[in-house]
């Protein structure tokens, strides 16, 4: 297990190294170079040369990359062109909030999707299964912005049960203090995820229901509930965990659409605004963070899978 961990972490480090190279090269392929990006298209050649010298852009690519890596190691992702703040602090402020939103949506989604998938699998091809499948597909197919708007109309305009805007606060505690305002964004995020995960769960449970070990468990005298929630569950969670691992970057990158509909101050909104103002350091910083989350997510998924499935554990000694 230790060897497996070291090997996987080693692989992750190599992948991250390549990610930094790509991000670095992207930064330099901005049309006209970074100077144009910051000083604008009308900048004079002297101003550009001055800017390049000041920021070290006149050195060789290798030297620049080395400087870039060095800054990265010190947590320096550069300065935002437009917000007069370091990218690291911007991302640092936004990530916890995004994680609250996406994490809560995912938890809600899993709490609904896993039992729903199991419930459907046991009623396969029954009326209830078809009905739920229809609803789930509609949920899956509806664009998120439309879904969010429907929620806003129903819960804030028609019934006025909930506030239409997410909590506007700087602190995490503030988010939870105004928890009613969190409900709609979390719900909007959860619905599409429920659709995806419940389908996965349904098919995983269906596959396992046909397995011989289920017959063995029944022949032992295990109750249907025990068969499903103990014997089948352990085996059905593996694909869900794998999915979750690849879902981790989504948790970090935030729900762009939902954040803009509900004006939620998270990563997605930051990214969206940066894209509109050509604020490249923010965009690339965000790309780097999301890439890191992707690598770590798949690593975590592998480890959790090994914990659930002894056969995976056996092969990774």
């Amino acid at each position: 297990m230790t060897r497996f961990l070291l090997k996987r972490i080693g692989q992750a480090v190599v992948v991250i190294f390549f990610v930094t190279v790509i991000v670095f090269l992207l930064l330099h392929s901005v049309p006209g170079g970074p100077a144009h990006g910051i000083l604008g298209p009308k900048a004079s050649p002297q101003a550009i040369a001055e800017f390049n010298r000041e920021h070290g852009f006149d050195k060789s690519l290798v030297q620049q990359y080395w400087a870039y890596l060095n800054e990265l190691f010190h947590g320096d992702l550069g300065e935002s062109y437009t917000l007069n703040q370091s990218v690291a602090s911007l991302i640092g402020q936004r990530i916890p909030k995004t994680l609250v939103l996406t994490g809560l949506s995912t938890l809600v989604a899993l709490a609904v999707a896993i039992p729903l998938g199991v419930w459907q699998a046991r009623r396969r091809k029954g009326l209830a299964d078809y009905a739920v499948t229809t609803v789930v597909f509609v949920g899956y197919a509806t664009p998120v912005f439309f879904l969010a708007l429907v929620l806003v109309i129903v819960f804030t305009q028609k019934t006025q049960l909930l506030p239409p805007q997410a909590p506007q606060t700087q602190s995490i505690a503030g988010l939870f203090a105004d928890s009613r305002a969190l409900i709609l964004p979390v719900l909007a995020g959860a619905i599409a995820t429920i659709a995806a995960f419940s389908r996965y769960m349904r098919s995983a449970v269906l596959d396992n229901l046909a397995e011989d070990y289920v017959r063995t468990a029944r022949a032992k005298g295990a109750s249907e509930r025990r068969v499903v929630w103990l014997h089948i569950m352990r085996n059905s969670l593996t694909p869900i965990v794998a999915m979750l691992g690849y879902y981790l970057p989504v948790l970090f990158s935030g729900a762009l659409v939902i954040e803009s509909v509900f004006n939620y101050p998270g990563m997605g909104l930051l990214f969206w605004n940066a894209a509109q103002t050509s604020d490249y350091p923010i965009l690339l910083g965000a790309v780097l963070v999301i890439a890191l989350a992707t690598v770590i997510g798949s690593l975590l998924a592998d480890i959790v899978q090994a914990l659930i499935d002894p056969r995976v554990r056996g092969t990774i000694k």
């Binding site: 063995t216 029944r218 005298g221 295990a222 014997h231 352990r234 499935d309 002894p310």
Partner: protein, 543 residues
């Protein structure tokens, strides 16, 4: 024995699936009784309803099945029970051992947990007590080092050990009835013999009534006191085991027994082995390696030297993992040897490249084990057979395909059908026709009849041997079934753990071997004759 009231009494059982005019009657008026301490075998080919019968005794049939008649266990009709009362019977009164021990155990839990679960479902033992008892049970079924095995997962055990675990689980609550549904079918013969011994011991120890479901007449002869023969959902004959084999009454039983290949000196093809100088295939010091766990190398084939003369049939036998199939694949260059040489018709396969290699392969045909998966489901039968002709640019194909189908005794009209519309036996005939399409001088047949029922197997073997006689191709016949090898081979080679144990004339190897492994293998293979089987069992126990 039969004076006591039966522990298990199945009366007039009928099971139907589906509804309306698409009803399938899987079991039709079956009555079987098993007395305490008695072993009753239910035999039949696929589709005879034997497994459905066994499932119905535990109420394990899918909800779509309609069950009529009664299944009494110790006087209680199981078919009327539901919910908790049925579960109280399952595992405690009637327990079951299944065919495929790998899939019968839950891969996500340790074997100790699974054995303990059987106990905890029916007793109020604590977790600790149940695990302690599980150790005892594992020891009882002959697992050494049981306390260490307790913490292992099913995939860490061999097939034989897994089946022992399943049996330990089944006997955990000392059930009155033990049902073994093809419990030894997936196992090697030597392991099968041990498991049959174990079942016999347990019967003596606990006095359980045992219902053994099998298609293997050798297993029946080995273990049964009484035999029930099923055919198309009905019982065609019931008799004590000696009577059934000595004086079968029903026509079906007679046909079934006649179709079973027997391992005996006289049971062979009536022909002289060809004596030709040239070798169709010669392997010299063949070594094949695969990459194993953590980059280590596993020798699947270790220093094997073999020759097959033109027109000769060499039977290659061995248990699973012995490397016999790998030898077959290496022989036509499907796997690359790590060292050693393969010569096809005198030319070295290792040096042949591209066109030369394809030209050499033209002289080889191959027949695989499972005809259902080795024929492309989207191609018609005709296209499957014609494919080697197309690849090698042979014209005049329709006529050739018709002739080939006729030669394997199939209606040429079948060439327009798809493989799934054919029966298993028909599909394997198509596989043979395809292998013979290019008039090969060497045919590799890898377990060609292992997936077939005995009566179908007999017919397919007959066709194959007739063609071999007529066309005179050499054949490497790979199988685990010693009786089949005895039937078809001129010479026999035995493999064990990648190495060639011995190779020689058929009778010398099968009936007069000096090698201990071969003798153990031969005596482990059950023969369809109760008296002879008792003698062989005694002989095996002496080895």
């Amino acid at each position: 024995m039969s004076d006591q009231p039966p522990t298990l009494a199945i009366e007039d059982l009928s099971v139907t699936f589906g509804s309306g005019h698409r009803t399938v009657r899987a079991v039709d008026g079956v009555s079987v009784t098993v007395a305490p301490g008695e072993i009753v075998a239910v035999v039949g080919e696929s589709g005879s309803g034997k497994s459905v019968t066994s499932m119905s005794t535990l109420g394990l049939l899918p909800p779509t099945a309609k069950v009529g008649g009664t299944v009494r266990v110790g006087g209680v009709d199981v078919t009327t029970l539901d919910g908790p009362r049925l579960r109280a019977v399952r595992g405690a009164e009637v327990a079951m051992v299944f065919q495929e021990p790998m899939t019968a155990l839950n891969p996500a839990f340790t074997v100790g947990w699974q054995v303990a679960e059987a106990l905890r479902l029916h007793t109020d033992l604590s977790r600790k007590q149940a695990l302690d008892r599980a150790v005892e049970l594992l020891e009882m079924v002959g697992i050494r080092d049981a306390s260490r095995r307790l913490g292992q997962f099913p995939h860490e055990l061999s097939g034989g050990l897994r089946q022992r675990v399943v049996i330990a689980m089944a006997i955990a609550c000392e059930p009155k009835v033990l049902i073994a549904d093809e419990a030894t079918t997936a196992l090697d013969v030597t392991v099968q013999a041990e498991i049959l011994d174990l079942l016999r011991d347990l019967r003596t120890k606990f006095g359980m009534a045992m219902l053994v479901i099998t298609h293997n007449m050798g297993v029946v002869a080995d273990i049964a006191d009484r035999v029930v023969v099923m055919y198309q959902g009905k019982v065609v004959e019931q008799a004590p085991v000696d009577d059934l084999f000595a004086r079968p009454e029903a026509d079906y039983t007679k046909r079934l027994l006649a179709a079973v290949p027997r391992l005996a000196p006289g049971e062979r093809r009536d022909r002289e082995a060809p004596e030709k100088e040239t070798a169709a295939l010669s392997l010299e010091n063949l070594v094949v390696e695969f990459r194993g766990k953590g980059g280590s190398r596993v020798r699947a084939v270790d220093d094997v030297t073999l020759t097959i003369a033109e027109g000769e049939v060499l039977g290659l036998v061995g248990e699973s993992g012995s490397g016999k199939s790998t030898v077959g694949r290496a022989a036509i260059g499907l796997v690359k040897p790590a060292s050693g040489t393969v010569r096809l018709l005198g030319e070295s396969l290792g040096e042949a490249r591209g066109r030369a290699l394809r030209r050499l392969r033209r002289h080889c045909g191959i027949v695989f084990q499972d005809p259902a998966s080795s024929l492309d489901p989207r191609m018609t039968v005709g296209d499957c057979v014609a494919e080697p002709l197309v690849i090698n640019g042979v014209g005049d194909r329709t006529e050739r395909v018709v002739a080939l189908l006729k030669s394997v005794e199939l209606d040429p009209a079948l060439r327009l059908r798809h493989p799934h519309e054919l029966s298993g036996g028909q599909r394997q005939r198509v596989g043979i026709a395809r292998a013979l399409a290019l008039d090969p001088r060497l045919v590799i047949a890898d377990e060609p009849t292992s997936a077939l029922d005995v009566s179908v197997q007999a017919a397919v073997l007959e066709v194959f041997l007739e063609l071999q006689e007529r066309l005179g191709f050499a054949c490497l016949f790979i199988t685990h079934d010693l009786a089949v090898v005895g039937r078809v081979s001129d010479r026999v080679a035995v493999m064990n753990q990648g190495r060639l144990v011995e190779v020689g004339a058929r009778d010398d190897v099968l009936f007069d071997s000096q090698e201990e492994y071969t003798r153990r293998l031969v005596t482990s293979a059950p023969v369809p004759d109760p008296t002879e089987q008792r003698r062989r069992r005694a002989e095996r126990h002496r080895l």
